[in-house]
């Protein structure tokens, strides 16, 4: 089986490009993969099945969805909410009608009217505040023979949304153990708390800063490392306080070194678009204890590797308590770190993840044809003995077929 592989790739800067850079070598060891060139919407010649990595960024993924529309295939859904992507592919291209249609499909007449309001600039863009209410995921699911996602949370969202095709949950792969030198030594600073990535409101940075301030009351030598570029509306420079180290634009090696210097890594999120976190997986690879929000994919991390903080009015206070607990309990950090390394080597092992990809590609790539072949035989026999499509016997046959795995 030859697989056409559509994804952003380095040097493009995105989590999904990094993801593919990690996955592709392992996948290529197991199955014949032809990588599609950026912006080429035609699958590479001779391929049997297409695999599309889709995220919410229109600059990175619009061409991939264009390719998907030409030829259905297996979609790797890195975000469940795709409103921003769809807005970019419609309004961003001057296709107001396309946006109206997408909104109407998600929310009927109300959706269409709201879309009119946005297109006419009478309403603020929906993707800034209310994207989760209008995920617009159907634009991608229409062409999906099946979906790979990274969490039960997204699988549940897909079913709620009405997607009836096959869905496979494949864990995020972890980076293999990395040799690090020149790890920053934050002399006299302890504990070192790290938060990395694109820093925006959804990463709960104000709540993190408040929690850190509380932590410093008991641990005055604590250091918070905030690494990554900042969303314009966050005004982080004004908010940064004593004990906080700001690092911008970390290249990959520098990012790893700074992660390695942390005692605890914090990765908060709300609202979630159903996304995963490459930073969390990097932290697992390095054996770092985690504090995360109790939402979406993050809530599915094992208790042994992450302490989960509810997103509520006590969020900052709870987080401060979690950080204090981790700062004061060396044995707990050690246990969580060990468990993180084990998780990286097992559940998130790149070989294991690549095997699950091959399984999903093989199951879904020709799965509908296989099911159809079996169903056709059975349907012909049913017809021959006078069972028609409305008879309950057919439901019985369908139920038995599902029991042996011949459903989705």
């Amino acid at each position: 089986m030859k697989v056409a592989y559509f994804s952003p790739l380095p040097p493009e800067r995105s989590g999904i490009a990094d993801y593919s850079a990690l996955l592709l070598p392992a996948l290529s060891e197991r199955i014949d993969v032809k990588v599609a060139k950026r912006a080429k919407t035609k699958p590479p010649r001779g391929t049997d099945v297409a695999l599309y990595h889709v995220g919410n960024n229109p600059e990175a993924h619009a061409w991939i969805v264009d390719a998907l529309r030409r030829r259905p295939g297996l979609v790797v859904l890195h975000d469940f909410v795709l409103h921003h992507l769809v807005a970019g592919m419609t309004l961003g291209r001057g296709d107001v009608g396309g946006y109206l249609e997408a909104m109407q499909r998600d929310a009927g007449v109300v959706g269409r009217l709201l879309a009119h309001g946005v297109a006419d600039q009478l309403l603020p863009p929906i993707w800034e505040e209310r994207a989760a209410d209008f995920p617009l995921t159907s634009v991608v699911l229409d062409g999906a023979d099946g979906v790979i996602c990274h969490s039960r949370y997204v699988e549940g969202k897909l079913r709620e949304y009405g997607y009836a095709g096959p869905v496979r949950v494949v864990p995020m792969p972890a980076w293999p153990s990395v040799e690090l030198d020149d790890v920053p030594q934050h002399e006299g600073r302890s504990p070192v708390i790290g938060c990395f990535g694109y820093l925006n409101r959804a990463k709960r940075i104000p709540e993190l800063l408040e929690a850190f301030e509380r932590l410093r009351a008991r641990f005055p030598d604590a250091l918070l490392v905030l690494g990554g570029s900042t969303a314009p509306d966050l005004k982080l420079d004004e908010a940064v306080q004593e004990g906080v180290l700001r690092l911008e634009h970390l290249d990959e090696p520098t990012l790893w070194r700074n992660l390695a210097a942390c005692d605890v890594v914090v990765s908060l999120r709300s609202p979630t678009m159903g996304e995963t976190s490459g930073m969390v997986v990097r932290a697992l690879s390095l054996g770092k204890p985690l504090a995360v929000s109790n939402v979406g994919w993050f809530s599915e991390l094992p208790e042994s590797v992450a302490i989960k903080v509810p997103v509520d009015e006590w969020e900052a206070v709870t987080l401060a308590g979690v950080l204090e607990q981790l700062a004061s309990d060396d044995a707990l950090r050690q246990r969580m770190g060990d468990a993180a390394r084990v998780a990286a080597r097992t559940e998130h092992d790149i070989g294991h993840v690549a095997n699950l990809y091959v399984k999903a590609l093989e199951e879904i790539g020709g799965g509908s044809n296989v099911r159809n072949a079996v169903v056709k035989d059975v349907a012909r026999a049913a017809h021959d003995v006078g069972i028609d499509q409305n008879d309950p016997e057919l439901s019985e046959i369908a139920a038995r077929a599902r029991e042996v795995g011949l459903g989705n």
């Binding site: 089986m1 049997d48 099945v49 399984k359 590609l361 093989e362 199951e363 879904i364 790539g365 020709g366 799965g367 044809n369 296989v370 099911r371 072949a373 079996v374 035989d377 059975v378 019985e396 046959i397 038995r400 077929a401 029991e403 042996v404 795995g405 011949l406």
Partner: protein, 342 residues
């Protein structure tokens, strides 16, 4: 108890699974159980036919008959274990090997196109779901149990089947090397023929029928073995017992076989067995230089082993007697007790 013994039936053929199912049913009846053998024809090609057959088994309703419950279902081999029953026990002869260890190997059935790959995966799903729902899993050999565990994560206890009850005769001085079993490529009878081509002193009797017979007869002619090889075809139980009694040793070397009743029958005839290092199940009973010879899976290795046994009749007789002690330990009492206690 009212017991249904389930096995697929390859039409007009009678091999290990058919014998096992018949023998089990017979042994259960002897112990005063009511027993029905449930057979459905099995055709595993083309394309996704094996899945259609699995669905056919699934559609059977064996919960009760004439308002009387069927107390126990014992399923044996793919796809019979897809059957639904609240008290299902599987005595696994083997899974659909073309979707597992034979896949992408010499004896595989499926290619690399998406349809074939999806069919293989769908077979895995059938197994995962329908074997996992069994109340207890047994496998006929360690080899089969290990394959099951590595492919599905399911554990099966090893429960070897006793060999069929032939009228075994006292061993006579050997005249030839005997191959017994269905003639298909995976049984590798060709290895024995090629060994005979290397050693002009070897005489062979090949008992059994199957799709590989024509090729084997051609091979025999090409190697000039006419006169030294007899293709006996399908033989009666009596003839088979006689063939065992008069051979020097039995050659049995399929590739990665599940279990193999033949070595047990050879041992009950007090004959040693020649097998190969990659034979799988037979290696669980054939111990090199104790009750047979285990050689490389190549004509030269087989020829050397056969020549050695022909030249050392005392050792061959002693190893045959040693094998008999192994075979006699496997009894139907044990098998029935364990299956019914499950």
């Amino acid at each position: 108890m009212r017991i249904a013994v389930c096995a697929p039936q390859v039409l007009f053929e009678r091999g290990g699974t058919e014998i096992l199912a018949e023998s089990l049913a017979e042994q259960l009846r002897r112990r005063e159980h009511e027993v029905e053998e449930i057979r459905l024809p099995f055709k595993w090609y083309p394309g996704a036919a094996a899945l259609r057959e699995a669905l056919q088994w699934r559609l059977l309703d064996l919960d009760q008959t004439h308002s009387n419950p069927v107390d126990l279902v014992i399923a044996t081999k793919f796809p019979s274990y897809a059957i639904r029953h609240p008290n299902k026990v599987v005595w696994l002869v083997h899974q659909f090997r073309q979707a597992y260890e034979l896949d992408r190997a010499e004896f595989g059935q499926f290619g690399e196109d998406p349809f074939d790959r999806a069919t293989v995966r769908a077979v895995h799903r059938v197994d995962q779901r329908t074997l996992a729902e069994a109340r207890r899993l047994f496998a006929i050999s360690r080899n089969v149990a290990d394959r099951l565990e590595s492919s599905t994560g399911l554990h099966a206890d090893v429960l070897p089947p006793p060999p069929q009850q032939l009228a075994y005769r006292p061993p006579q001085d050997g005249e030839y090397f005997l191959s017994v079993g269905r003639l298909d490529r995976a049984k590798r009878v060709g290895l024995l023929l090629e060994a005979a081509a290397l050693d002009k002193g070897l005489e062979l009797v090949v008992a059994g029928e199957g799709p590989d017979r024509e090729r084997l007869e051609r091979l025999s002619t090409e190697h000039g073995l006419d006169g030294r090889v007899t293709f006996a075809g399908r033989v009666s139980d009596e003839e088979l017992a006689d063939l065992y009694a008069r051979c020097i040793a039995v050659f049995y070397a399929p590739f990665d076989e599940d279990f193999g009743l033949v070595p047990y029958e050879a041992f009950l005839s007090e004959k040693p067995v020649v097998t190969t290092r990659d034979a799988g199940g037979p290696l669980e009973v054939v111990v090199d230089r104790q009750n047979g010879l285990v050689c490389e899976p190549a004509p030269a290795g087989v020829a050397e082993a056969c020549a050695w046994l022909a030249a050392h009749p005392d050792e061959a007789r002693a190893w045959g007697r040693s094998g008999k002690l192994v075979a006699e330990r496997i009894t139907w009492d044990t098998v029935v007790d364990r299956l019914l206690a499950a």
